[in-house]
Amino acid sequence: MAVQVLIPTPLQKFTNDEATAELAATSVDGLLDALEGRYPGIKGRLCDEAGKLRRFLNVYVNSEDIRFLDNQNTPLNDGDEVSIVPAVAGG
């Protein structure tokens, strides 16, 4: 079950400047743990102490905001693309 993750610039210091990563996971929560396994320290940036995604981060699965899906329980399938996007200003 490989999914493609798009890593935003501010996090690429954890990924040796790689903008994408391919990991095995069956849910967004599982993906966060898989990221931490490969890039130690990255989960602490993405999540608070309780493991909840920080409120200024948006996570999309195949372009859909996970808050319209099942948040961190959103299931992932082989070939899914996950993007992590810090919040931006509008208009």
């Binding site: 210091k13 940036r45 920080r54 372009s63 810090p86 931006v88 200003a89 208009g91």
Partner: protein
């Protein structure tokens, strides 16, 4: 003599959430700690020593009269942005039952007739200082107009991104400046997501992404101007549209900064926000007493404020709560009626965002949430000529007549009968 070489009064960036410091480069998130938004840090003692009402009044009739409060180092790109009229709205006040109502009319801002000229003037000045040669943005329309126009004036290359379903006026009003325009199949939030990925890889200055800390500061001038135009006084209550929530927070910051440096006497100002029902994630959260935003998918004629995932929403809710203001939403029909009401009573033709603001103003007065004695300022942020589609079927039609007196007389009688 103690002349200083640098004219800048800002010292760097800082995370609004955790306070972690960063240098004043092109960055917008607290990447070392918590991913919160970054904002500019100023030396208010230096500003206080440098600025007085007299020095401001002697400055240009643009946002740059407040340049010591803006995050630039050198000469600004001055396209005459800002210092738009503050209109005493006597007719509208009477209609609504208010005693002291003002309209801050950024629908006649320069050069592109929306408040976005303020933020873009600051962002592109800073972009040039940081060495960018291509500037960009994700936009619901007004920001694209402004970025394309001011980039043209400044000689910067420009590529902007909009949702593909925008009003024609906003598309033409971008293309005429000859940028590269990307019309994306999707809503604004999807455009923004794409742009975040482009910003990651193309090294451009995105005014609302990596230049956001500088960009958003431009909105503070809407606070400064109202204070100055009220005769160096704060209003009692303001009503402003909420899209990402940034404008709302920056008007407040503008008020607070003038208090802090002693330019105006401290007073409590109530902050009320306006959203369209078809995209009202901030109003919904406010109504439910939440401090977090649940994103929505926009479906409203008020496209310029149709942001389903508003980044500064939590801060807007906090301000409305702390100042005893409120946040309300109105439907598309009410928005159209708001546009017409402002036009008929004050001669100001605003776009859908302004219609939203006026409709919410009316709703709050009717609900007793605005005291008739309060000096109230409604912020009109854009021009109606850009969104004529929104009202085309809701206003009158011309009488089509022959060039004869008889034809005119007959039509005149019909008009008076109606």
């Amino acid at each position: 003599m103690t002349a200083t070489l640098s004219r800048s009064t800002f010292t760097g960036l800082r995370c609004k959430e955790c306070g972690h410091p960063y240098e004043a480069s092109a960055r917008h998130v607290c990447e070392d700690v918590c991913f919160g938004p970054l904002e500019v840090v100023y030396d208010y003692e230096a500003i206080k020593n440098k600025v007085s009402r007299a020095t401001i009044e002697a400055g240009p009739a643009s946002i740059w009269r407040y340049r010591d409060f803006l995050p630039i180092e050198g000469d600004p790109i001055d396209v005459g942005t800002g210092f738009t009229p503050l209109l005493k709205a006597g007719n509208l006040a009477k209609r609504l039952g208010l005693k002291s109502l003002y309209i801050k009319n950024d629908g006649v801002n320069m050069p592109t007739l929306s408040f976005k000229d303020r933020v873009v003037s600051v962002a592109l000045t800073r972009a040039r200082e940081l060495g960018f040669t291509t500037v960009s943005c994700a936009s619901t329309g007004n920001l694209a107009n402004s970025t394309a126009a001011i980039a043209a004036h400044a000689g910067l290359d420009c590529c902007v991104f909009i949702p593909s379903d925008l009003e024609l006026g906003k598309v033409l009003g971008t293309l005429v400046y000859n940028p590269t325009l990307m019309a994306v199949h999707g809503n604004y939030d999807q455009v923004n997501r794409l742009c975040s990925e482009v910003a990651n890889t193309f090294g451009w200055g995105f005014v609302n992404i990596n230049l956001r800390p500088y960009y958003s500061e431009g909105s503070k001038t809407l606070g400064y101007e109202v204070i100055e135009q009220l005769g160096w006084q704060l209003p009692d209550h303001i009503v402003a549209p909420l899209a990402s929530g940034s404008l709302f927070t920056k008007i407040r910051k503008g008020f607070d900064e003038f208090i802090k440096v002693g330019l105006v006497d401290e007073k409590a100002v109530r902050f009320s926000g306006a959203q369209a029902e078809g995209c009202s994630p901030i109003a919904q959260a406010f109504a439910e007493g939440r401090d977090f935003i649940t994103p929505v998918k926009p479906n409203t004629i008020a496209k310029s404020i149709a942001i389903g995932n508003p980044a500064d929403g939590p801060y807007a809710i906090d301000i409305a709560n702390k100042t005893k203001g409120t946040i309300a939403a109105v439907n598309d029909n009410e928005i159209i009626e708001g546009i017409k009401l402002l036009a008929e009573t004050e001669g100001v033709f605003t776009e859908t965002a302004g219609g939203t603001t006026i409709a919410v103003l009316k709703k709050l007065v009717e609900a007793g949430k605005i005291n008739p004695d309060e000096t109230t300022v409604a912020y009109i942020t854009g021009n109606g000529l850009k969104t004529t589609e929104a009202i085309a079927s809701s206003i009158g039609e011309p009488y089509l007549i022959e060039a004869t007196l008889d034809s005119f007389k007959a039509a005149w009688q019909r008009s008076q009968a109606g």
